[in-house]
Amino acid sequence: MSLEQVIQLEKVNKWYDDFHVLKDIDLLVEKGQKIVICGPSGSGKSTMIRCINRLEAHQEGKITVHGTELTNDLKNIDLIRKNVGMVFQQFNLFPHLSVLENITLAPIWVKKMPKQEAEEIAMAYLEKVKIPEQAEKFPGQLSGGQQQRVAIARSLAMNPDIMLFDEPTSALDPEMIKEVLDVMIQLAEEGMTMLVVTHEMGFAKTVADQMIFMDEGRIVEEAKPEEFFNNPQNDRTKLFLSQILNH
């Protein structure tokens, strides 16, 4: 009855020296689930998802992705990173490579794909994010929204099962947010497992299966969207929602 669990966080704790940034995090993600994580800045939301692909390391607790436990073992880490894609707030496209080369880089060097095959896949994803004509351009020649869409295509080209989004639209000008959210919605409809850290509540209402509110390193509330927005249980959740929904 329950779907396959692809990500498990059990009693995960993390410190930066003496600052306790993640406190007893328990999280289960099922295949195909779309989870939106929100909360005030400094609450640990980015840190949490960055632990999942080991850009940050946890000190206590257990993180399992697709049955592989995340430890210091480099082989496990590589395996997990091949199957988990990440989209960054600052895009982080490679400025010295063309758009096409940005996307084909990992398939060629990590999956050892022939160049032609990689380029075909890359063009397919560029079509999917609706900017195939930019293939030969360089990141510096693209707008913010276009760059982020290329970044999404770049992660998708590795055919991941899970996509992590770390505030993907926070660095964009308002008129470009929609084009990126549209791509993410399409991805959600196709069944991708997604963890999204964002302030875009409209997107959350459309796409999320599960809402998570984090504050001061803890998961304070976890509920389905209807429950979460209409009937938040915790006081802090209520406070946060009132601040963010009053624009």
């Binding site: 850009l55 894609g85 960054f88 400025p95 010295h96 990992a106 990590v110 794909m113 095959e117 990141p139």
Partner: protein, 389 residues
């Protein structure tokens, strides 16, 4: 009416600028005219002739460090070339050594070991804040206080460290060595084609080949193989102590070594700073994005970090090379026969043709600077990030 014409001229932008420029040229021309007159008068008074004919007269002095044959009967023109070659020699060797040392220290400065990092920092700060001339003189003094020839420090049986230089065996190339050289050239060319071929195969099949290892092995082992199969056609002429000097072999003079160490160590400190800031300039997100895609660390370095870092490093690196080349002119302080010492110093004293000689020397350095700058601009334009980034 006169008034308004003058007003017009002064306040109209175009005519004012024309007026100023004409005045400037006028003043310059006047000053230069006076200078030339005065100089001609002074030269005449002192009985110094001018002209470039001295280039064909015999130099009358010896140059001990030289790459081409030269005796005191050779012309000043030839002395110029000897000096120029010596300058280029020390510049090339110095830049080479400085680059290696500089990159090494730069990378150490970025390591996570606090002690290594700070030892390197101390080296950089001390070297950068002390005049290069002092460092050159210091190394030269140390080299001059090596033991005398009769009590030379012996390394590996045939290498002698003395205060008159570093004596070592010189290779004598026999018949058959040509084959070894040919095989080396062949190996280099072959490696170029192998690299192209293997890269193409990677594009079509996706398999990766250790191109660097294969090519290195080729370039190292093929000539070695031919060396042995043609009967080892290199003999060494060993330096042998006869009386007060060594006969045979070859020697690297302390003047050259002093310049080399002084210039390299000094310039390496500056290069290390350039390298360090170049690598730091690549944003952290680049590393994270490539890691998130699953790239292993050596690929992250090779494909993402280093290409971007090099773009930032190369322009200031080139200006360091220029500085080293200009600093080679300090050879005169310790007797290294570079361009300024021989042609610019001794020839000048002997012929008195100060203006001509200085002009030639300065034009030479200018040309070198210009050539290096042109290459740098070409490289810079080629690797600019396209777009507004």
């Amino acid at each position: 009416m006169q008034n308004s014409l003058i007003r017009k001229v002064i306040f109209d932008e175009k005519s004012r600028s024309l007026l100023i420029q004409t005045l400037t040229i006028g003043i310059f021309a006047f000053v230069i005219y006076i200078l030339v007159q005065q100089t001609a008068y002074n030269l005449d008074k002192r009985g110094i002739s001018s002209g470039f004919d001295f280039l064909n007269m015999a130099a009358g002095y010896d140059i001990s460090i030289r790459l081409i044959p030269f005796t005191s009967e050779d012309t000043h023109l030839r002395a110029y070339f000897v000096g120029l070659l010596n300058t280029l020699l020390i510049a090339v060797c110095g830049c080479f050594l400085a680059t290696i040392l500089g990159f090494l220290v730069g990378i150490i400065r970025l390591s996570s070991n606090w002690l290594f990092k700070n030892i390197a920092y101390v080296y950089v700060e001390f070297t950068r804040n002390v005049p290069v001339l002092l460092q050159i003189i210091l190394y030269y003094s140390i080299l001059l206080h090596l033991p005398q020839i009769k009590q030379a420090i012996v390394l590996l049986d045939n290498f002698y460290l003395t205060n008159r230089g570093f004596f070592m065996p010189s290779p004598v190339f026999k018949e058959g060595f040509g084959i070894v050289i040919a095989s080396l050239i062949f190996a280099v060319i072959a490696s170029y084609f192998i690299k192209k071929y293997l890269k193409k195969r990677q594009e079509t099949t996706g398999r990766q080949y250790p191109i660097f290892l294969i090519n290195s092995a080729l370039i190292i082992f093929i000539p070695i193989f031919f060396y042995y199969t043609t009967g080892m056609p290199i003999e060494f002429d060993n330096p042998v102590l006869k009386g007060f000097n060594f006969k045979g072999g070859m020697v690297v003079r302390p003047e050259f070594l002093g310049m080399l160490f002084g210039l390299s160590v000094y310039t390496a400190a500056f290069i290390s700073e350039t390298v360090r800031s170049g690598i730091i300039s690549v944003s952290k997100g680049q590393r994270e994005a490539s890691q998130a895609l699953g790239l292993k660390n050596n690929l992250v370095m090779r494909l993402i970090i280093i290409p971007q870092a090099l773009r930032v490093i190369i322009p200031p690196l080139t200006s360091q090379y220029l500085n080293l080349t200009k600093n080679s002119s300090l050879g005169i302080a310790i007797g290294y026969a570079d361009l300024v010492h021989g042609f610019g110093g001794i020839s000048l004293n002997q012929t008195g043709r100060a203006i001509e000689i200085m002009m030639i020397v300065m034009l030479t350095y200018l040309s070198i600077s210009l050539i290096i700058s042109i290459f740098m601009n070409i490289y810079n334009k080629a690797v600019q990030f396209k777009g507004n980034a």
